[in-house]
């Protein structure tokens, strides 16, 4: 049972790292970026190429994936996304889905349609047995890295000037601008960082979730679920939401395998009916 709990926590934290960038983007600029999964895919493929073909150690390839996705995010944001901010939500959806199609086809062309695997180093394979609980080593690494990231994010948000500026801009961007905060620059940096996080999530997730060119389309739903259930006005919201969903999904499939897929959707619907703004959203002052 505790093994299932452990597995669920690992899965949930992975979802969190993947979806965190989306939550911040949506909350900050009210921009629906459905192409978020494409950045995750980019990070995953960067890791595959660096580890498998260039022989870079796995742990070193993780920051490389982060930086690569962040760079791609920054460039795209400055060149393409910036033209789309003022448009309606529907146009943003059209735009980002168009980007997803392009990225899926491009990756298919360059890397092939089959699933790819990362050669995870030996020490990370298999599991320990602690008091009868099987702790998978790779999942332990995920929990460790994602935990550090979460704490880091929370610290940045709560204790740094950048973090307080970011929180101000999310709460009410007009007033924030009025106070002299450069919201556009904050957004560019946050977008890049969020894309980088997605890339890191993709790199970590390649082993557990499977990486192929259709990755953005397959997992878009899960990111959206995390963001909607968690609300977009804090980091803790999506964090707790991803844990809930991760554990719920894994436990549901273990205890009631016949209803496996229902669990995650039903949980989501129930939560959204009960709390339409998401579980942890503060009511915005707008």
């Amino acid at each position: 049972m505790l093994t299932i709990l452990f597995d669920g926590i690992a899965y949930g934290m992975l979802l969190f790292v993947l979806a965190a960038g989306l939550a911040v983007t949506l909350g900050l600029m009210n921009f629906v970026n459905l192409a978020h999964g494409a950045f995750a895919m980019a990070g995953g493929y960067v890791t595959v190429v660096t580890v498998n073909r260039l022989g870079v150690p796995f742990l070193v390839s993780l920051p490389i994936a982060f930086l690569a996705s962040a760079a791609v995010g920054f460039v795209l944001e400055r060149t393409l996304y910036v033209h789309v901010y003022g448009k309606s939500h529907l146009d943003q959806v059209l735009f980002t889905i168009g980007l997803v199609f392009m990225s899926v086809a491009a990756v298919d062309y360059v890397m092939g349609s089959s699933q790819v695997f990362v050669q995870v180093p030996g020490p990370l394979q298999g599991k320990f047995d602690v008091f009868g609980i099987g702790i998978g080593r790779y999942r332990l690494l995920i929990i460790f890295i994602c935990g550090l990231l979460t704490i880091g994010l929370q610290c940045v948000l709560a204790y740094t000037r950048f973090g307080s500026r970011l929180r101000a801009a999310v709460d009410d961007s007009r007033v924030a601008r009025g106070l002299g905060i450069n919201v556009n620059r904050i957004f560019a940096l946050t977008f890049a960082f969020g894309s980088g996080l997605a890339g890191l999530g993709g790199a970590l997730g390649a082993e557990i979730l499977g990486l192929d060119p259709t990755f953005p389309l397959k997992f878009m739903i899960y990111f959206l679920i995390v963001v909607t259930v968690g609300g977009t006005s804090s980091i803790t919201g999506p964090f707790l939401a991803s844990l809930l969903l991760g554990i719920g999904d894994v436990a549901g499939k273990y205890y009631v395998p016949t209803l496996g897929s229902f669990v995650i959707y039903t949980i989501m619907i129930v939560i959204l009916i009960w709390r339409p703004q998401g579980l942890f959203a503060r009511v915005a002052s707008r």
Binding site: L80, I97, G98, F101, A106, V227, T258, I273, G278
Partner: protein, 350 residues
């Protein structure tokens, strides 16, 4: 309190001006029906465009006129498709037209029951709740494979000829005529609906629900009503798919179907009823052409088209077609006299 006669007259005049038929609309439908005779080799894809257009029309009713964003409209589509297919397979209702209506009613009931889920919450919430409903239905259809055929799809469906005479043939002739007629009739009903006081009240709800309820429009009742109607339309579209292909599989509930639908509607433009139809034509032909050209990488080109459409901007694109609209309005002027033409010019320049 009784309203003064002048207010009532003004309101009636406003509504009837909105509801007037524009010459381009005539041209559209004439061409669509003429295609039955002029484009016999394309009836298969035109049939798909017809039910896809109906499906997009149903989404337009809730998205363009009531502001409900839905990523799970395929739920009603699929429900209608399976209902029609099952009715045909077990020979409960043999006449396709009756089966289609039954499927529409079934979908309407489902729409009514789930409409309460979309009353609260932001756009994002509605998006996810509707998506959740569609995916749960998909899982249910998979679970009850003994009824729905599961992942293999429903086998052994034979559709009887319409009214006993028009057989569904391999070339799609009957299929296209059937789908187009159904689309046209439902379109007329929808047009009547959105140009009525009910339709106007929906627009006010979409614009500002708080204000609308402040002046006495019961928001929830309106939303439930339009959602139910739209669900019925979607169910009929699904029934048309099931009847023209004699098949129904889990794909009818999939996320891809709802997402493609949203794309189709956004391409054509939401809020003026023709957006779904135009979007269906453009999207389907474009996809067909591109996938025949490059079967493996066509999503790239579609993506590029979508990105370009957004970057270039809808306003710029519609300004390219403005000359056509102005020309047709001038024709309207000549045919029907100045006063009506002036009010229709005022309408098209909005």
């Amino acid at each position: 309190m009784i309203l003064p006669r002048s207010t009532i007259l003004a309101a009636t005049e406003c509504l009837s001006t909105r509801a007037r038929w524009h010459p381009l609309e005539f041209a559209f439908w004439i061409f669509a029906f003429a295609a039955i005779y002029l484009m016999p080799g394309h009836h298969l894809i035109l049939t798909e465009i017809a039910w896809l257009g109906l499906f997009a029309l149903s989404l337009d009713l809730i998205l363009g006129y009531a502001g409900i964003v839905s990523l799970g409209h395929a739920a009603f589509f699929g429900f209608g498709a399976y209902t029609a297919a099952l009715l045909a397979k077990y020979q409960i209702i043999n006449e396709p037209v009756l089966a289609m209506l039954a499927a529409g009613i079934a979908a309407m009931m489902l729409g009514f029951v789930t409409s309460f889920l979309v009353l609260r919450g932001s756009d994002l919430t509605r998006l996810m709740v509707t998506l959740g409903v569609a995916l749960v239905l998909r899982e249910l259809a998979n679970r009850y494979g003994w009824l729905t055929g599961g992942a293999d799809g429903l086998q052994g469906v034979t559709i009887q000829p319409i009214f006993g005479t028009f057989r569904f043939d391999m070339f799609g002739h009957t299929g296209y005529a059937y789908c187009l007629t159904v689309l046209f009739i439902l379109f007329l009903i929808a047009r009547r609906l959105v140009n009525s006081p009910f339709g106007l009240s929906l627009l006010s709800v979409k614009g500002n629900p708080l204000r609308a309820s402040a002046i006495g429009i019961s928001v929830d009742a309106r939303l439930v009503a339009i959602y139910t109607i739209a669900a019925g339309y979607a169910g009929i579209a699904g029934a048309l798919l099931a009847q023209t292909t004699a098949f129904a599989s889990l794909e009818v509930f999939s996320f891809d179907r709802s997402a493609d639908l949203l794309l189709v509607l956004i391409i054509g433009g939401a809020g003026y009823l023709y957006g779904g139809l135009i979007g269906a034509i453009i999207f389907k032909f474009m996809q067909d052409y591109l996938s025949a050209l490059t079967p493996q990488y066509w999503p790239f080109w579609i993506g590029l088209v979508l990105v370009t459409i957004v970057l270039v901007g809808r306003d710029r694109i519609s300004s390219w077609t403005a000359p056509i609209r102005r020309l047709s309005t001038l024709m309207n002027l000549r045919a029907f006299g100045t006063r009506r033409a002036v009010s229709s010019i005022q309408r098209t320049s909005q």
